[in-house]
Symmetry: D2
Subunit: 338 residues, 4 copies
């Protein structure tokens, strides 16, 4: 069985997912596309083998009976509307992070999905599909080194565009570490503190970079996240979980180790695509397989809601300079087993 997918939003990440759905993954076809820029949508569609329909709007695409399931890769503020429309149409929807840009919007999605009585929404936190993070989680949950106490993380981007702000370090970078923390420990975040170390000379005026974000989990585990977006040397994602009887950390990326000119060493990935290409592949293949089997998989609307709440709390903590508690709604039964 082949799943016919409609893609809303054909910018950088949308085109990357279309390439993946078309040339890499199994059991799926891009049947329809749309974009706020219809010319761009037509250009992208023209290159695809299965001549996808170009719809005038996301709503039209969702309504198209040939579209089995929907991928939302449009601009963040538009996610809520498309996800709600997909839920209303009873169609499975994979939404790139963020699920929505405000706690309220996420909450409305949760309400809508809960009202249908079944899971229709999957959110694109691809690190859960990364081999290294999965190996780390297997060790943590396997119990061989005892219960977790602390996690150290670093999220280093080589550079960011001019429009990037300190707030976006929380919303666009740290959000991944927020989801990792919730998933790694199967726990919620109870409070967030944001410290401002010495500012990199490469950061623009008024920009706080790096940040040191401290997440307190409900269990008491503390996760410290160093988030840098002008690291220059590469895209470097680090993580170490400290447990009672040992630690587990992400290894450096495999590859060739070169010795020359007095040094030995390996490559640091250039960007998130190089680092996480296989996680994206695995994430979407898992979703397609689940859709083909009549359901969904992966991070839920609840995970999307919780991440957005934690980010909003992080922004408050960035502004206030002090520890900010996280306040969340009750977790609906629909999300009580994962």
């Amino acid at each position: 069985m082949t799943i016919d997918v409609g893609v809303i939003g054909v910018g950088m990440i949308g085109q990357d997912h279309i390439r993946r759905l078309t040339h890499v993954l199994s059991g799926v076809r891009v049947a329809a596309v749309t974009d706020v820029d219809l010319d761009r949508a037509r250009t992208v569609a023209a290159d695809l083998p299965d001549s996808p329909t170009v719809h005038d709007s996301g709503e039209d695409l969702i309504a198209d009976p040939r579209v089995d399931a929907v991928v939302v890769t449009s601009w963040g503020p538009t996610h809520e509307g498309y996800v709600l429309a997909a839920i209303a149409a009873g169609k499975q929807v994979f939404c790139e992070k963020p699920l929505a840009t405000t706690e309220e919007a996420c909450s409305r999605i949760v309400d809508a999905e809960v009202a249908t009585g079944r899971r229709l929404v999957s959110v694109g936190f691809m690190r859960r599909y990364d081999d290294q993070y999965r190996a780390m989680k297997a060790v943590v949950t396997g119990g061989e080194i005892g219960s977790a106490l602390v996690m150290h993380a670093a999220h280093r981007n080589p550079s960011v565009p001019d429009f990037f702000t300190s707030d976006m370090i929380i919303n666009d970078s740290t959000v991944h570490d927020i989801d990792v923390a919730r998933w790694m420990f199967d726990d919620e975040i109870a409070a967030v503190t944001v410290l401002k170390p010495r500012v990199s000379s490469k950061a623009r005026d008024g920009f706080h970079d790096p940040l040191l974000v401290l997440l307190e989990m409900a269990s008491g585990v503390i996760v410290d996240v160093e988030a840098s977006v002008n690291a220059g040397f590469g895209y470097d994602i680090r993580g170490e979980v400290v447990c009672e009887d040992g630690t587990v950390e992400l290894s450096e990326a495999a590859g060739a180790i070169v010795k020359g000119a007095g040094r030995f060493g390996g490559r640091v990935p250039t960007d998130w695509r190089e680092r996480f290409v296989r996680a994206f592949d695995a994430e979407l293949q898992a979703w397609i397989d689940a859709v083909a089997a009549g359901g969904t998989t992966g991070p839920s609307a609840w995970d999307g809601y919780a991440a957005t709440v934690a980010c909003e709390t992080g922004l408050r903590a960035l502004a206030s300079g002090v520890r900010e508690p996280v306040t969340m709604r009750e977790r609906p039964d629909l999300y009580k087993e994962s």
Copy 2:
């Protein structure tokens, strides 16, 4: 466009490729299967989503007009016949190694393909698609550390079945290192020597394990291959190319690094599937994409011929205890660019 593939031979590796073609790769469908054991073929077919035809013989499968291209994963001695039949039918064929079990058989395949004037045969040397080997080759051919002088390799299997023989260390294990050496240096093997170190107490009587196989390339580069098939601790594939200005080696497999009980460290793969799962995926996806584009890609019939000749020379060297020169036919023009 979807390629309809027929698979001849549904043993362990055949079933693994069928799983891959069905559930992992893009643009392909298993349309037909057959096996020397027809009941097994029917059982395998029954589990597949697209209800493939079960043919009584490989020849019938190859002749089936709905079969666009052929995958040969049957017992080695049967490869020649199926590959020749596919060539005769003008169909692209992916043949697991070995291309054929004797120099003469490989030569007949080369003759048949050359007679058609175009490449129809691809041989399953999957290491060429492994990320680490590719990174290593990029360094070697990039010239940053000068010309290659020596290569060290190790091929360690945790264990082998009772029917395994010392000859099979050459034919089934070292054959991969033979292909890697030819590919890494874009060169032919000029001579083979096989040394017999102290025998592992885990080897059966009369079995020489490990072996130390020395490959002399035409350029003078020497490749030493430690081949062990009772290594016990894991499936461990090592490689290091020593060049004039530096070296490049395969890193240990990535994953989680655990500290506990006085040690730090990571996992050694359990078997070839774990180590090379992605190389197999990439190899077959590349082949499918090339078939869809009207051609082929990957190791050629010439590569299959050369590997078999080197293995036969290796067997002579194992028996004689001395250096044995490799004698090959002239390389046909069809294979002169790769």
Copy 3:
């Protein structure tokens, strides 16, 4: 020239230094010893080749004209008195950390030394002599990866005696990281925050272990120190400095890498002696060489003072749960170049 050293305090660390001075280092002799337990002092002396004098008190030892220089390895609260006596006697003194147990006591030592107009005091922060820390500092100060922004550190002890308290995590463990931070960045600590992650089940009741200690340097660099004293698996000291253009971290300890039973990996040191044996050797040899040359070297009384002030601030932060600023006296000119 051979330096005749008197050692005050022959407990565990004192005996280790006596072994070092007697059997490992060059140009030095243990000429006198004393201890609060005179029997123990006599027993230790009896085993030494040069028949050191056993003095009834530290003051007597310091006054002994045959004693060229003094090593203080007694109980912390007694340090002040012995160091002041050595200063009064005009003798070089190497004092194990802490220099003294209170800010006031350290300040009195600083005053006494300043009054002599020359440096007579060296404090035993041996990490400054560790090859890995020195390699790290060379990179940081070399400027090849830009200015420092953040430092991550971990101090993991396998276990601690029953009398150990959370306060001692600050005073006995983190004090080393405090000194490293000051030395690494040639800067003072401006504020300390102590966070209390989930408590290890191996910690006794009422014990906060691990702690997450945040040091803010005057420059704005933030140093986070995970301090665990029930880590169980080994003695694990980690450090990574994050700079504007790259990072530098301590490598895992060298040694043999073993592959077996599905794992590859190396050894984690058992205790501080294994990890820092060479740093202790180098530290004391450097001090002996400096004494022989008529001066001193290594961490100064000011460094001892600053570490004690930071520790006291850390204790306040541990109690208060909030960020505590560090208040220090003016740095005397004597310590203005290091």
Copy 4:
């Protein structure tokens, strides 16, 4: 007790040992020196704290009653005479490798020492005192990964002086791997083969570099040694022992790991001094301590003899191109326990 040592030969290695004996090690003093160039001997002596006597000849130095023990660091061909003189004088002698330059000369030393009935000779194979090699040997002899089958080694020098020849690759570089093999497996070398890979473009005309030296131990273990002396990028010593149930290898040298400009990695040592400085320290301290205790320790005259015989066999193998068996005299009882 302080050992008064006389040093014969104050070239590069002699001066390095004098620095070590004077400024690094414990319980020793350089009491006398000499050199074929007496002016050089006088210059070196003038810089030393204990005003050593400058003797006109090695024989005079050995005869000096104030000299407790002798260190021979003169030109190789002179070793035999000095070692025999020290034996005749009944003085302990530490001789840098080679013990002597011919099998016959070594044999005469063995005879002379055997005639005294006790060990007086120690040979400077410092790798036996290297922490990494010792950790490796501890694993091999500990039995945790079974019996040894194969060893891989590499000896890479960044460059060599113009007078260096291919023979010297055997005599000056590979000799260390020869001693390591004998020591690691407590076994003798039964045969040597020398292969000549493609020649580095950095080697002078007529120079075979690198070499691939194959040592067959009496037990059947094969040791392959890649010996390169124009490696350019650093001084790189590698070793891996392959056992029945696992492997053990030297780790890369510890230090700081730097990330920057798209790479992570560490330092390769610049030269043998950087790599083995501590092995030299440990070797000589162990010898001094043994001398102080009335005996000796470390590689024996028999080890020196065996290494020279293996090197001579290696030279024959380099010339003949084929496997050359090693023929040795009977091992005297004096050397039967080590």
